[in-house]
Symmetry: C3
Subunit: 140 residues, 3 copies
Amino acid sequence: MWLQREITLRPRPRGFHLVTGEIESGVPELRELRVGLAHVFILHTSASLTLNENASPDVRDDFEAWFDAAVPEDAPYWTHTIEGPDDMPAHIKASVLGPSLSLPVRDGRLALGTWQGIYLCEHRERGGPRSVVVTLMGED
Amino acid sequence: MWLQREITLRPRPRGFHLVTGEIESGVPELRELRVGLAHVFILHTSASLTLNENASPDVRDDFEAWFDAAVPEDAPYWTHTIEGPDDMPAHIKASVLGPSLSLPVRDGRLALGTWQGIYLCEHRERGGPRSVVVTLMGED
Amino acid sequence: MWLQREITLRPRPRGFHLVTGEIESGVPELRELRVGLAHVFILHTSASLTLNENASPDVRDDFEAWFDAAVPEDAPYWTHTIEGPDDMPAHIKASVLGPSLSLPVRDGRLALGTWQGIYLCEHRERGGPRSVVVTLMGED
């Protein structure tokens, strides 16, 4: 099976957001895949995807705090400032976390660890809706 | 060929550890794959996988030093502190390095560069055994 | 379709460089792939690949500025210094950005967002030519 589908994630405020359910329900054909991979790819350069703890909202708040400290908006070395103070840090954060996730699939479900959830990492103040391409591959 | 297998990596102390051989020997079917990919995925949110220099142990020590400096345990912004001072930094480090590696396979072997080895990145003081799912795909 | 090809990228100075066209022209078979993935993998531990803004050269300059600030060459904790002051920071940067990209393919083209381009991230002063393995997979 090779299947590809574009999903639009609704707009979120700047921060880290759990979207596992929204991704899964966007590709119902996942249920037919016995063994394979799901590749989730974001079509943007100022938002990213990662996998992390799916239970405590304060973990996601601490992600925002660390990334804001590690990639400061007021650093003296930024030259690409024309799109606002959150733009260039958003590009850096997007590359540090990466644009895609490759996830194992087993018996029609994402084979994630107990505590793993998919985060949409929204690095802009107003990023708007975000598009992801999900590619399912494997044996049905 | 689509093949998926879960491997348990023995417990390691906090730090960066070479596990290329342990991963390879966990999927002996790798030898049958002529051209394809091996996807290695860790089922945890406080440990991660990366690829780096496979020769000098001091490189791996310096990884630990840099990550400890970049993600300080005593930062004032942590709110998720209930699981100990190494927990929230472990989550951040895990996402910065990422939960998976996709590696080319050629003629029954991982097609890595001369100096590339797989690191298990153990970010907790006592992480215990770590589970990875290896998915082999391609033509045999 | 499973196809694997090694491409040599010409030497670049330290910094971040757009190589989307060079990668695409190295695998002309991409045109035959209807739906699938392109996996691009760098065979080195002191250079890396990422996806980011493909229009403004100052974005790529700011990548260099941020990474140089985040991974300082003169940090007191480096012990692996035998290969020069740019070596150990290069290893760290390579793992933070990662050795590979998995990109969706649709109708014979990389299905990237409007602003997404492939960066070769050269972390050494004189890295020389860099080898990447491109694996195409999917349905033709």
